[in-house]
């Protein structure tokens, strides 16, 4: 298996290299045959990598400990389902995973690319395959998952216990796929620039793949937060850890991009800006992947200190500088097709939204690198962690939520004061009413009031739009309200999908505001039979069971939850101690309701049978996890192909130069 895997890895590397060179050479020498064969090589790289992937999976399942990677990340006791996780538990496997995902995305992207992009496709292919070549070269030469040990160990070292959690089945693969996925819209943009097709031809493909990587990143971030919340045992979900930040920044960049690209799609404007945004997002994605492997900053996420750092740094430098040189070269061609009609227009709102998103990304980057700057210039070690980001990014995020409520209500081109007043009145009323009611009820934390007020503002605005649209459909066509509502959504999917995603962002806001300002935390040590009062809840610790399970000791504590003397539930919370890792993994017991979570986690087991518990009451965090599926639904709606088409541009004589694929029409 090791040999088969290694051979297919090298074959894929050869194919990707050939495809890169062949695409460019074929295009420059006007040789359709060469371009065709380069494209076939690209289509073949995916299957080759799938064979390599399968080889590694089989090696894991058969516990082929002769392969160093298998021996390092699994053992005989590991259940087979964790093969999925063990696969990307280290550098070697995760690089293979990234390469496989990129090869498949590339093939689909090129295969489904619209006819009007034909001219640019060889360059797009070259960009995709150059990136793939880099990842495969690093994998094959520096971090080959199929390298063999000089001997065959009797058992492997086992999987990192922190990874044996449900969330780990999705969080790393989603994030890695999202990060590498940004390559696709970037390749379409760069292909457009290189081929001189600098108009709006690439916009649809760029938007679809931009949203696709956006949702992968968003899902990865949410799942990671959820994992941290349930397993890391401190009751929070976000560290502002350098590697989290590294995944957060490209998400911000691509969020700006998927908004801004709509302006180009609808109005033919912001052509330069969209190129800048996708270049920035790609650079940030490369930075994210660099931080993950051999970044200089300590983190709970790093794949160990690996030798790959410098080579990723170099690739990142190239990936940032070259696209901007291409941009400067093509700058004169990137004129907008239209002028801005008014500062009070959706176009302008989008630009401010972009600015805020990039500002948050900048603050986050600044926070990550400032300790380094301080070390170099002042010779002073300092830390930048959560309090900094809370204070600086907090207000920016609130401003973003505000804009999220305003933007969709402002029409394209130019907003009239009267129509604006009409559409903004309900949401403003909703927001102020919420603030008023909450303040009357005795809530006096300003930031929290603003957060809740803005959430109500956005929600009212969206519901109002839905109601108005549905009503006018109902009246004009006689459809009943349910049909009218569904047809309304289906009639403009990008817009209504966007609304659904916005609602999910409001849900996340509720969770963040709720836990940031109203979370109650208590650390107690309880002997069996003792109880503690936290907020409305009375918790009685009944006792702990100890179970030895091969590689770990499980301490299962049973706690009875009462409220107002009434028994609610008996919950069990677990702390696993892994002697071989000298590490404990906890599983919090969470009683989750839309109002608040009761969160109990054992932090230590004392010799006398008493247990140190951390108990939290986290208001509204339930909404944050429910936001995930809502966001997914919104994205699917936004991406669902719609049959309204902009007419294809008149074929230019230059498209004859290549014969990429049979014409679709």
């Amino acid at each position: 298996m090791a040999d088969l895997g290694a051979i297919s890895l090298w074959i894929a590397l050869a194919l990707a290299t050939y495809s890169t060179i062949g695409s460019v050479a074929g295009k420059l020498r006007m040789s359709p045959a060469l371009v065709d064969s380069a494209q076939s090589a690209m289509y073949a790289a995916g299957p080759a990598l799938l064979v390599a992937t399968l080889s590694l999976v089989v090696a894991f399942i058969s516990r082929d400990f002769e392969i160093a990677y298998v021996a390092a990340h699994s053992d005989l006791a590991m259940p087979n389902k964790f093969t999925w996780v063990a696969f990307y538990a280290g550098n070697e496997g995760s690089l293979l995973y990234i390469a496989t995902v990129l090869s498949i995305m590339s093939a689909i992207a090129i295969w489904r690319a619209p006819e009007k992009l034909k001219d640019a496709l060889p360059y797009t292919t070259a960009v995709l395959m150059l990136t793939l070549t880099f990842f495969l070269a690093v994998t094959a030469v520096m971090a080959n998952p199929f390298d063999k040990l000089p001997f065959v160990p009797i058992d492997g070292e086992g999987i990192n216990p922190l990874l044996t959690h449900f969330g780990m089945f999705f969080h790393p693969p989603a994030l890695m796929a999202g990060l590498i996925g940004i390559t696709v819209p970037f390749a379409f943009a760069t292909g457009a620039l290189l081929s001189g097709k600098t108009g709006d031809e690439w916009v649809d493909a760029g938007r679809v793949w931009g949203i696709f990587s956006w949702v992968l990143l968003a899902a990865g971030l949410l799942l990671g937060s959820w994992w941290a919340y349930t397993i890391l045992g401190w009751g929070g979900f976000w560290f502002w850890d350098p590697v989290e930040n590294a995944a957060f920044m490209p998400w911000l960049g691509i969020t700006a991009f998927v908004h801004s690209i709509m302006v180009q799609k609808r109005r033919g404007m912001f052509r330069m800006w969209n190129i800048v945004l996708i270049n920035v997002s790609f650079g940030l994605a490369l930075y994210g992947m660099f931080m993950n492997r051999g970044g200089s900053v300590p983190s709970v996420h790093s794949f160990g200190s690996s030798q790959l750092g410098w080579i990723f740094l170099m690739f990142m430098a190239i990936g940032v500088v070259v696209p901007f040189l291409i941009f400067i070269w093509r700058y004169p061609l990137l004129k907008s097709a239209q002028n801005l009609d008014s500062m009070l227009s959706r176009e302008a709102a989008f630009l401010v939204n972009n600015m805020l998103l990039l500002a948050i990304a900048f603050v986050t980057l600044w926070g990550t690198v400032y300790p380094l700057i301080s070390r170099l210039t002042n010779d002073e070690e300092i830390t930048i962690a959560r309090p900094f980001y809370d204070q600086v990014n907090g207000p920016l995020m609130l401003a973003l939520v505000f804009l999220m409520g305003v933007g969709p209500l402002i029409p394209w081109r130019k907003a009239g004061i009267a129509s604006l007043r009409k559409s903004l009145l309900p949401p403003i009323t909703g927001g102020l009413l919420t603030v008023g009611v909450l303040a009357t009820l005795g809530l006096h934390k300003e930031y929290a009031l603003i957060g809740f007020g803005l959430s109500a503002f956005v929600t009212t605005g969206i519901l109002m739009e839905w109601y108005r649209g549905t009503r006018s459909r109902h009246r004009s066509s006689g459809e009943n309200y349910a049909t009218a509502f569904l047809r309304l959504i289906m009639a403009n999917r990008p817009r209504y999908g966007g609304y659904i995603v916005h609602l999910s962002v409001v849900m996340v806001t509720l969770g963040i505001v709720g836990t940031s300002f109203f979370s109650v935390q208590k650390d107690v040590v309880l002997a069996p039979g003792e109880s503690v009062q936290v907020e409305d809840y009375e918790l009685v610790y009944l006792g702990t069971q100890e179970e030895f399970k091969g590689n770990r000791t499980e301490f299962i504590a049973t706690v009875q939850v009462l409220r107002d003397g009434e028994r609610l539930e008996t919950i069990r919370t677990k702390r696993d101690f892994y002697p071989s890792f000298n590490m404990a993994a906890t599983t919090a017991a969470i009683r989750s309701t839309p109002v608040e979570d009761l969160y109990i986690v054992p932090s230590e087991n004392l010799p006398d049978g008493s247990v140190g518990f951390r108990i939290l009451v986290n208001p509204l965090i339930w909404w944050m996890w429910v936001a995930g599926p809502v966001m997914l639904v919104g994205t699917v709606v936004a991406l669902w192909p719609q049959k309204i088409r902009v007419p294809a541009p008149v074929p230019s004589p230059r498209r004859i130069a290549t014969g990429l694929r049979p014409s679709a029409d």
Partner: protein
């Protein structure tokens, strides 16, 4: 209810630091088993727990990457949380406690640098950056509104084949709405355009081209 903090000892300011050093080494020596004894006593803390937690969240755990002592559940961070509570009980305020840890561990024990001296740069750069970006966006938008048209006539929001249909929709809406809608198609409000969706898909002139 039994909070796990130790009872507070009546101490004078002079002895505070010495006591804390002693307490630290005491905890280091005796370790976990001590807590079992201590939590048998029920002290009434002279400070609010949320205040203590606020301070915990400002102090990094010295041995764990990127975690505060509030988050980390390792021995040393438990001991440091203990020290925070003892100092609060002894009457120290937040700044004194933070200074105490800075003296012992260096400035990087703080989760965020103080807003003073050279570290003011860390806090001001984002503010300056955001202000500059806002100004830039304003200037860009202004220059974009002032330019003459660049490439040909303005493009309508929808493709030209839809215009007759959209006018039809407009007439329908005029019948149902009290206020008349704008006449031109290019300045059309969004809601009018949305109504046109599914019916348009049956348009025989529809472009068969797939959209990725």
């Amino acid at each position: 209810m039994r909070p796990s903090n130790v009872p507070h000892f009546p101490v004078t300011l002079t002895f505070r630091a010495a006591l804390l050093l002693a307490a630290l080494s005491l905890f280091a020596l005796i370790g976990v088993s001590t807590i079992g004894v201590l939590h048998a006593q029920i002290p009434e803390p002279a400070y609010s727990e949320s205040e203590a937690q606020g301070i915990d969240r400002m102090i990094m755990c010295p041995v764990c990457p990127a975690e505060t002592i509030d988050q980390a559940q390792v021995q040393i961070s438990m001991q440091m949380r203990q020290v925070v509570r003892e100092m609060l009980a002894a009457g120290s305020d937040r700044d004194e406690i933070l200074d105490f840890f800075v003296d012992r561990y260096g400035k990087d024990i703080l989760a965020a640098p103080p807003k003073s001296g050279a570290n003011l740069v860390a806090w001001l750069a984002p503010v300056v950056g955001v202000a500059a970006a806002l100004a830039a966006v304003f200037l860009i938008l202004r220059s974009m509104t002032r330019k003459e048209p660049i490439l040909g006539p303005p493009r309508p929001l929808q493709d030209a084949g839809l215009i007759p249909y959209l006018q039809l929709v407009d007439r329908h809406l005029d019948m149902t709405r009290s206020s008349p809608s704008p006449s031109g198609t290019s300045g059309q409000s969004e809601s009018t355009v949305e109504l046109s969706g599914p019916e348009i898909s049956t348009d025989p002139k529809e472009n068969p081209e797939e959209n990725v």
